[in-house]
């Protein structure tokens, strides 16, 4: 029983880690980024290249890839998203436009990765060492994903709710049209939020590449999972993403252990549907 809880939380840690960035991009910048999973895959390949060609330890490569993820997302926002934000008459229109544009972005990233790396499977082994957690042996790399998601999530919550800067971001999320009346630069806040989301996609990619086999076209799987977690947790809510991610991990593990491994996906979608029926805005969503 306890081992399933530990395994479930460790698996859920990965889900939470990859979903947090998306929830921030959606909640604050109001951009539904369908290319999110492909940014994760790009970070996976970057980690792989750094580790195989320059022998840079994947954990050290976080120091390079995460700022790069921030910078690239910042540029993407300035070039691709800003014109959409400027011309969108309302939030609904921005949401639709951003879905369309990031859908295109998805194929651009995918195409570039395909051209550089081909369609083959890429995988390497790092930190695949047994770690004993409360009597259950888990893989070190997966435990790292859980620890990172809790640390980053905790830090984000503290920043968002305890700092002036976080208050500005929350103000933009809550009332994007009123925020400028208080002297808040909404464009800058949205750009920062989008870039933070990109940095977190990069973090997720670096960690995921340590234990999961990836291909240039596997991004959509991550986007799907992250979307489920974001909607379950309530869009824009960082604590919601963490709780929903861990919950999904637990559900999958318990169903695999006590029911049938073949039903894990069905169970995830059942939880998703039931929760949406009860709380249409997600666990931590604003009613």
């Amino acid at each position: 029983m306890l081992e399933h809880v530990v395994n479930g939380l460790v698996l859920g840690g990965t889900y939470a880690l990859v979903a947090m960035g998306l929830t921030i991009q959606y909640g604050i910048a109001r951009i539904m980024n369908l290319g999110f999973g492909d940014m994760i895959i790009a970070a996976c390949f970057a980690t792989y290249v750094l580790s195989t060609t320059l022998s840079i330890n994947p954990i050290v490569s976080l120091l390079i890839i995460v700022p790069a993820g921030y910078a690239v997302s910042d540029v993407i926002y300035r070039v691709l998203m800003k014109p959409l934000v400027d011309r969108a008459p309302d939030d609904g229109a921005l949401e639709v436009d951003s879905i369309l544009v990031t859908f295109g972005l998805l194929f651009v990233i995918q195409g570039v990765l395909l051209a550089i790396f081909g369609g083959g499977y890429t995988s390497y082994s790092f930190l695949n060492t047994p770690v004993n957690v409360l009597g259950t042996v888990v893989a070190g790399n997966r435990l790292l994903a859980l620890v990172l998601s809790l640390l980053i999530g905790g830090a984000l919550v503290v920043i968002l709710f305890r700092s002036r800067w976080g208050m500005i971001l929350r103000a933009v999320a809550l009332a994007p049209h009123s925020a400028p009346l208080f002297g808040i630069d909404t464009d800058r806040a949205a750009r920062t939020a989008f870039a933070i989301g990109g940095a977190m996609a990069a973090t997720g990619g670096v960690v995921v590449s340590m234990f999961q086999t990836f291909t240039a076209t596997a991004g959509v799987v991550f986007t799907m999972k992250a979307l489920i977690v974001v909607i379950l947790g309530g869009k824009g809510s960082v604590p919601g993403a963490i709780v929903a991610g861990l919950l999904l991990g637990l559900v999958e593990t318990f169903v695999a252990a006590y029911v049938d491994p073949g039903l894990t996906l069905a169970a995830v979608y059942t939880v998703f549907l039931v929760l949406l029926l009860v709380r249409p805005n997600g666990l931590f969503g604003k009613a």
């Binding site: 395909l114 995988s123 893989a139 999961q212 076209t217 073949g262």
Partner: protein, 412 residues
């Protein structure tokens, strides 16, 4: 009114004349091209993107490229009169979509009018294009396709050729090894088995259940999992708890890699550890962190076969990486057979099919490779990592295989 009608008729007649003239020019041009042919066009549709790209990129595409490059470097394909023609390739990406592969093959046959069409990757895709290939009369050298129904397909499409055997072949060869090991007292009679709920896994597990049970084995754990699964901690836990000495997983590469990593973390090392696609990839030892000794899977090579060693060296030199230890060599051999057939009978499609059916060829598999009922039967069914190579094994060894070495040593 009459005048208009007359005009319309005249217009139509003029258009018809134009069309006829255009057609005549086109036919004429084509006729000239056929006589003074300066190249052989070979087309194929392959998964360069999408979920199938990983498998296609490992086993099929590099061999197509390697073969074309080799043939062209040697002056081109030789025809019966001794003349040589270079190969021109038309390649499409089927984006791992069954509709797309059918559309692309139809295009290759009707619009590009290529001389030869090479098959796509995967059992499902080969079955999807088989009726079209037969309809247009192209010989279909289905390389990367595992099917127990090959004999039925040969009856239905007599220009189809099947190079990879069927699930029953792989499973029964593996069962023979298990029976011998049980008699030698090295394993108990329990088997834990998992399979991916998709084409390959379903096919293999369907053949495996009756085969294991008929041999008196008790399948204590038998579960399938969705293809999207990436975490195997719980599944391996349950398999370990089933007290089976034999662990069998009919999986695709991402699962094969993840299972290996998880088994190492959990120190789960049963005497027989058998995995699906991917365990025979040359990258596998790197992914597993070195220690793969004793891991079993489908395929395997005879390390004493010099033709095969030369092929592997050439693949590594030209493609930049080693071929896999299962399907690559079969695909390459099928291309060599095609090359020799064209040298004997030319480019007539039905003559090529007849010669492939009945001829004997010199390939990387051996000096006398031939098909039985349009199927390649002399292939390796079970492989095992021994001393850094994935070699073909059997219970006793012999006939191009070595004896299986069990129990599998612990992970390092």
């Amino acid at each position: 009114m009459n005048k208009t009608l007359f005009e319309a008729a005249r217009l139509t007649r003029r258009q018809t004349a134009c069309a006829l003239a255009a057609l005549a020019i086109a036919v004429g041009a084509h006729g000239v091209a056929a006589q003074d042919r300066d190249k052989v066009t070979i087309g194929y549709a392959i998964s360069k993107s999408g979920p199938n790209a990983g498998g296609a990129d490992m086993t099929v595409t590099p061999n197509y490229e390697l073969w074309v490059q080799e043939v062209n470097a040697a002056g081109g394909l030789t025809l019966p009169d001794g003349s040589q023609l270079p190969i021109e390739v038309i390649a499409y990406d089927d984006r791992s979509s069954a509709e797309e592969v059918v559309r692309a093959v139809e295009r290759l046959a009707t619009q590009d009018e290529v001389d030869i069409i090479l098959p796509p990757w995967g059992t499902g895709f080969n079955l999807a294009v088989a009726p079209l290939m037969a309809k247009f009369g192209y010989p279909h050298l289905a390389g990367a396709a595992v099917t127990d129904k090959a004999s039925d397909f040969v009856e239905r499409w007599d220009t189809s050729f099947w190079f990879m055997g069927g699930s029953v072949d792989y499973v029964s060869a593996f069962t023979d090894i298990l029976v011998a090991e049980r008699e030698a007292g090295r394993i108990n009679d329990k088997i834990a088995m998992i399979s991916v709920a998709d084409g390959f896994g379903i096919d293999l597990v369907k053949a495996a259940r009756p085969s294991f049970e008929a041999a008196g084995f008790d399948i204590t754990y038998d579960k399938s999992f969705p293809p999207e699964t990436s975490d195997f901690a719980t599944i391996l836990n349950e398999a370990a708890n089933s007290e089976a000495d034999t662990f069998v997983a009919f999986t695709y590469p991402p699962h094969t890699f993840a299972l290996t990593k998880q088994a190492k973390v959990a120190s789960y090392s049963p005497p027989v550890f058998y995995l699906g696609v991917g365990a025979g990839f040359p990258v596998y030892p790197g992914i597993a962190g070195g220690s793969v000794e004793g891991v079993m899977s489908l395929g395997g090579i005879d390390p004493d076969n010099e033709l095969n060693s030369a092929y592997r060296a050439k693949h590594e030199e030209i493609v930049g990486r080693a071929p896999d230890y299962w399907g690559s060599v079969l695909i390459y051999a099928s291309l060599q057979m095609l090359e020799q057939t064209i040298e004997r009978v030319g480019l007539d499609k039905s003559a090529i099919a007849d010669e492939l059916s009945t001829g004997t060829f010199s390939t990387v598999l051996g000096e006398e490779t031939r098909l039985e009922n349009n199927q390649l039967r002399a292939i390796n069914w079970v492989g095992q990592w021994q001393d850094g190579q994935f070699v073909a094994v059997s219970a006793e060894g012999g006939g191009g295989t070595v004896a299986a070495e069990l129990p599998k040593p612990d992970w390092e």
